[in-house]
Symmetry: C2
Subunit: 445 residues, 2 copies
């Protein structure tokens, strides 16, 4: 006899519709494989009259989402509405009434995670959100469960498919940023207003969630240092390629405890939790031999560095109705398993954690300057770098379409961000420097 679970679905757009389709088409196989029978009990939608691609049984559609959560016929709630309210209130109500919630809502988790995790823990029910970061890629469950005993040092992810598509087109076709963005929009990868993707807001929300899960750090989206890709030029990408790098928009979450800084191999073996984390989103130069460098098109990938396990990478489709619904379905089966066997879910316990300023970052840097093409320029520029303790690993000067102008490109040895920013401030004011045309952090190999 299969165990039967009744699902209440909040939202039936792209992801919700794909989930309904999976429940219908894969239901028999899922029951055969897992002994679990998932039945759609109620579906909350904005408009009942809209045409839907998937068949939803008559009588279970409603515009009253609260009634779905309260419905005694609903055992588990799936929230794919997106946005903070009413998703937050509905999720809290469900959790407080002892119903597990599956959420694909990165905005909600990245802003209200602590409150939601506490509500789930207080009721002893699951709050699962595999779909909120990197879509269909199994990532949250491996981090929470498989790596529960692992001391994680850093998590770096390509977690926004739109920007990765744009950067791939720029690298492989030599497209300009604007042409690549237009192509992404015409293919439906980018919104008409692409701000959330290209300015890194989407990636920053996911970075906050990764900080929650990987480090138990109480980080919200607004805590994340953020730079987008709109300033990246074809020249930067071509130069990066020539130097053996790919340019990727990365979400980076890393331990930054003072002890770890001094002794990075140590991982803080005193048994305490992580005391400080750095969380940032920015474009970066990734060595061509690094696994993240070969993640193309709209794929997502998350690279995890652990003390015992070493380097791991998880790659797949970070968006799309079906991949995201697949992640929701996996969570749904997990929650159903726990409900029917009386098992407890795993909670995410967040601690207050210092968030290290970007000023404290130690990194190598790529800096491109548009300069006067005359003797003494390199001397002036390198003098500014030297004064700020920024040492140069390599320098190239390219002549230019513009007569009298040149492009000066530096890659530095690891330096402190604060010092590099002070350099840039001074360089901008040098007579011989017309513009700072490129600036990228460089990931070590």
């Amino acid at each position: 006899m299969p165990s039967s679970l009744r699902v209440g679905l909040l939202g039936c757009g792209n992801v919700g519709g794909a989930l309904v389709r999976l429940l219908v088409e894969e239901g028999g196989r899922i029951t055969a494989r897992t002994g679990l029978e998932l039945t759609l009990a109620a579906v909350a939608v904005r408009s009942q009259s809209r045409e839907r691609e998937v068949p939803i049984p008559a009588g279970i559609l409603t515009t009253d989402a609260a009634s779905v959560v309260a419905d005694p016929d609903v055992d588990v709630v799936v929230e794919v509405i997106g946005g903070i309210e009413p998703a937050r209130s509905l999720t809290l109500t469900a959790l407080k009434s002892g119903k597990p919630v599956i959420s694909a809502n990165k905005e909600l988790l990245a802003n209200c995670g602590a409150e939601l995790f506490e509500a789930a823990a207080a009721s002893g029910v699951d709050l699962l959100f595999e779909a909120a970061v990197a879509g269909g890629i199994p990532l949250i469950r491996p981090l929470r469960e498989s790596l529960a005993g692992e001391s994680i040092r850093r998590v770096m992810g390509i977690v926004n498919g739109t920007t990765n598509f744009i950067l791939t087109r720029m690298a492989e076709e030599g497209a300009t940023y604007h042409d690549a963005l237009a192509e992404a929009q015409s293919l439906g990868y980018a919104e008409r207003d692409p701000t959330a993707d290209v300015e890194g807001y989407d990636a920053a929300a996911k970075a906050a969630i990764l900080a929650n899960v990987a480090f138990g750090a109480r980080v919200v989206a607004g805590d994340v240092y953020r730079e987008g890709i709109a300033g990246i030029t074809e020249a930067d990408i071509a130069m990066a390629a020539r130097l053996g790098y790919a340019v990727k928009l990365l979400a980076v979450v890393e331990r930054s405890d003072p002890a770890d800084q001094e002794n990075p191999g140590d991982f803080g073996l005193d048994g305490s939790g992580v005391e400080a984390v750095a969380v940032r989103v920015h474009p970066a130069m990734v060595p061509a031999t690094h696994p993240l460098a070969s993640v193309r098109d709209s794929f997502n990938a998350v690279f995890v560095e652990g003390r015992a396990v070493g380097d791991l990478m998880f790659l797949g489709r970070g968006a799309g109705g079906m991949p995201t619904a697949s992640a929701v379905l996996g969570d749904l089966l997990d929650a159903a398993h726990n409900l029917t066997t009386g098992g407890a879910g795993r909670t995410v316990a967040l601690r207050r954690t210092a968030i290290t300023s970007i000023d404290e970052l130690r990194s190598a840097y790529y800096i491109a300057l548009e300069v006067e093409d005359r003797p003494g320029v390199l001397h002036a520029v390198s003098g500014v770098l030297g004064q700020h303790r920024v040492s140069i690993r390599l320098m190239e000067q390219e002549t230019h379409g513009d007569p009298g102008r040149a492009r000066l490109v530096f890659v530095t040895h690891p330096a402190l961000e604060r010092d590099v920013q002070a350099c840039l401030g001074e360089l901008r004011h040098l007579d011989v420097v017309h513009a700072l045309s490129g600036f990228l952090r460089v990931i070590g190999s």
Copy 2:
């Protein structure tokens, strides 16, 4: 109050020793993070007198493994002895007495999986084996849990680090197979007798386990079609690179139901299980743009193609004491969580499944022949291919160091393996053909 679990460890070599170290060094942090306290209660070793790198408390070392399993002070058993007996009997005894078992033993699982899974299911306890395939990479748990609702079409893995190291050296340094093998041996990546790795036996065991987990198919190591890498030449790898491919030793497990063959997009939506699988290990040409192509050195990676989720890849260290111990520790925490919360583990239910012969494979092929360098040779060779319905996608003829000889390279359109093998049989007997010098299956992009 943390929940306390007492661990019985069978075997204390490379992986067992690393696990002891992790339990000592990470214990405090693990308890803080998970509320679980893992205590080493008993350790079975072959010799008590051996020097150990890790400190094991006095009085818990024994040479009597059965006593560890029977010890009422042991709640959960970790089996890292390897080999079939006594590991099989000890594992069965533990499971039958209601103790969860964590195993890193691919040989045991690939040969006795069905019996062990049944024993675990009968007792309602966990049998977890994340470490048995692809070492530290979280793969088995994502397949069993995250993708429990997914219809998987194919799993392709680079699951042997030794051979991937050798193939990487051959591709990147132009090394010969023998030089690359010698380097792998000197670095400790390959055994003095490298047969298990280079002939694909290790990968075949892992392929069988992947067939168990991904498809619930009752497959054992001996069912797996197997070819190794000893016949791969620098010329094959250089030609593959020139054509836009990397050569990788792949373990491939795929659905081969007749319905799927006719309609590959369908995934058999009748709700029944998988009726037939193909399971094989062989070197293959992988398109350079495929994520598996950029998996270098001794890294492992497993590529999963699902109906809803699309393409996924999991990458990491497939071997080594610490990465493997990390996977064991993740399983241990999972089993401990289930034991202390009363939750039930997930079982692997195996069904008898037809195993499709390699003869039925449809693939593109790379074929290299050493031939006479004279007119009419291509005509003769292409005639044989045509007779067997093998159509040619591209052909290249290279002249040779040997005067009077040439190297003829074909890449075919997808063809039936049976037809291609019939071709090869005939080609070997043509007067103008001196040798079949290269043969690789080609993975579609």
